[in-house]
């Protein structure tokens, strides 16, 4: 009797049966016949076991055909949003520098939507191995043009063939990354003939070894076949890769400086378990605000609008700081044009006794306007029982059914001697017109807010408090 020994067989890097995969088939992967993903998955699984990296490995499944890669590998795994694999990998590696992460991405994920995330991670030299599967087409969505689609190639979205004038040249990712300083290893391989698969196997292991030795960023670009979308047999696909793709995407090592680089040692973050748990519980809605919180009759959704330079953003900030000082939940969301002065600017402030969902204010219950265009723009959004407060120096009385208050903020500010404190005048008026707001030390809260806002410019505090008081005394109810 002769005995038999397995020389090549199913890797222990795969689960014995794929229980996560729905349906009756538990031994096979979901890929189409002849798909390059399967070939690469086998190389990855084998390397995980041989390099003893399984226990610390987090395999990131991208969006694309390999979105279900976590069905298969017997190691840690995360599914991430489209293109965000290197960003998530960065988080994983910074939180636990001893973990290993493979970011497995396709040409749509890495080359299109996630190019920035990927390039920045490469440039930071994260201790990461990126497996870039380049099949020159969008496979999962059935054959649209990819950034790496070859010139002349007809796809669903380039029906007359890709042209240089219309879509530009195919993106050479490996060359681009090799040009950066940080990456230590960049190689392009192909998953076609036995010879090429062997060098792909060697390249993958080199990338993973670099990661194990904490040498930094490695990129391996795999030219891979998609027989279904190329509408070819597996053999013809291999020939097509070798005859059409490789001349444009030449194989070989573009950069290998791992030996010259020292280990990357980044500080290990220290987490205060108690604080983290508390923060998580609070965000989950278990927050206890206690008795110190000032009770509001209802949530205040405030919009402050004017032109840039009038201080509408800091007005919103002061109102938010006032709420914060009385333990009310507040949010402040600015919105302004690219110009620093003269453009329109507005900010949304939400004050609530409960957790604030969105900081965006759509239906306003308090509108503060400091110029006419803002009034015209935001008045329609004011709730019927809302409050309108405007600077009557320059704005005509509006037609509205809401409660309306006016203050000559700009003129009062000029009388005080600085037009810039008009926003504090407005805040004084705001404090006066706010009914049903039972604050302990009502004025004190606003004055504290002014002190907080101007803590870096203490010489302005007195002037702004003066403006605040004048505003409070000069506000008028307007009968429309």
């Amino acid at each position: 009797m002769s005995k038999e020994e397995i020389k090549f067989g199913r890797s222990k890097g795969f689960f014995e049966t794929f229980e996560r995969r729905p349906g009756p088939i538990k031994k096979n992967m979901h890929y189409c016949p002849g798909c390059g993903h399967g070939i690469l998955h086998k190389l990855v699984a084998e390397a995980l076991v041989d390099l003893e990296m399984q226990d610390k490995m987090i395999f990131i499944s991208p969006v694309g055909c390999s979105v279900f890669a976590y069905y298969y590998f017997d190691c840690g795994g995360i599914s991430v949003p489209h293109g965000r694999a290197p960003a998530v990998a960065t988080g994983l590696l910074r939180a636990n520098p001893d973990s290993y992460v493979i970011s497995y991405q396709g040409d749509g994920d890495l080359g299109a939507i996630g190019l920035n995330n990927f390039l920045q991670a490469a440039n930071r030299g994260e201790n990461l191995t990126v497996c870039f599967v380049n099949n020159a087409i969008y496979g999962m969505t059935s054959g649209q043009m990819a950034p790496t689609t070859l010139i002349g190639h007809k796809t669903a979205t380039s029906p007359y063939g890709r042209t240089v004038t219309n879509e530009g040249f195919p993106l050479k990712v490996a060359e681009m990354v090799a040009a950066l300083e940080s990456p230590v290893y960049v190689e392009r391989v192909a998953l076609t003939s036995t010879k090429n698969i062997r060098s792909a196997r060697r390249a993958l292991r080199k990338g993973l070894t670099n990661m194990k030795e904490k040498k930094g960023f490695s990129l391996i670009e795999f030219l891979s076949g998609c027989p279904i979308n190329l509408k070819k047999s597996a053999e013809a696909t291999d020939e097509w890769i070798e005859e059409e793709m490789i001349p444009y995407f030449p194989l070989g090592c573009l950069k290998d400086i791992a030996d010259e680089r020292d280990k990357i040692i980044r500080p290990i973050p220290i987490f205060d378990k108690e604080k983290v748990t508390k923060a998580l519980l609070e965000s989950a809605g278990n927050i206890k605000f206690g008795d110190k919180q000032t009770k509001l009759r209802k949530d205040l959704r405030i919009k402050c609008a004017g032109f840039g330079g009038q201080g509408v953003l800091s007005l919103g900030m002061m109102i938010a700081a006032m709420g914060q000082s009385r333990n009310i939940n507040v949010s402040w969301l600015p919105s302004y044009g690219p110009e620093m002065r003269g453009g329109t600017a507005n900010c949304s402030v939400v004050m609530s006794n409960d957790i604030i969902g969105t900081p965006i204010v759509i239906e306003t219950n308090i509108l503060i306007t400091m110029n006419q265009p803002s009034m015209d723009k935001f008045l329609p959004d004011l709730a019927t029982k809302g409050i309108l407060l405007y600077d009557s120096t320059s704005i005509k009385p509006p037609k509205t059914k809401s409660r309306v208050y006016a203050v000559e903020a700009t003129r009062i500010a000029l009388d005080i001697g600085n037009i810039k404190c008009a926003n504090s005048v407005i805040m004084g008026a705001f404090a006066a017109c706010l009914k049903g707001f039972e604050l302990e030390n009502y004025e004190g809260a606003f004055e504290e807010a002014i002190k907080t806002t101007f803590r870096k410019k203490p010489q302005l505090i007195d002037m702004n408090i003066l403006a605040f008081r004048k505003g409070k005394d000069s506000v008028k109810t307007v009968n429309v």
Partner: protein, 83 residues
């Protein structure tokens, strides 16, 4: 003698795990694999080992995109007095 030291191998292809892409067949340097004329439970015409002359190079194993469709065994002679 080289004839004496020559190792022997056997390929096992699990029919239900084969998707019939043919990658193993054209990757085999000694052409010992072929498609059957039968279909498996997925309704796919699958590949098979012709039964002899495998050299154990592993080309078919690495060419195959499925994790466990192909297993290559080394057949070790268990002769008396010899290792």
């Amino acid at each position: 003698m080289s004839e004496k030291k020559k190792k022997k191998f056997r390929i096992n292809i699990t029919p239900d795990e084969c998707k019939g892409c043919g990658r193993c067949i054209y990757s085999c340097p000694v052409k010992v694999l072929s498609l059957t004329n039968k279909v498996n439970s997925m309704g796919i015409v699958y590949a098979q080992y012709n039964g002899a002359d495998c050299i154990g190079c592993g080309s078919c194993f690495y060419a195959c995109p499925e994790p466990g469709a192909i297993t290559i065994y080394e057949i070790k002679p268990d002769e008396k007095g010899k290792e």
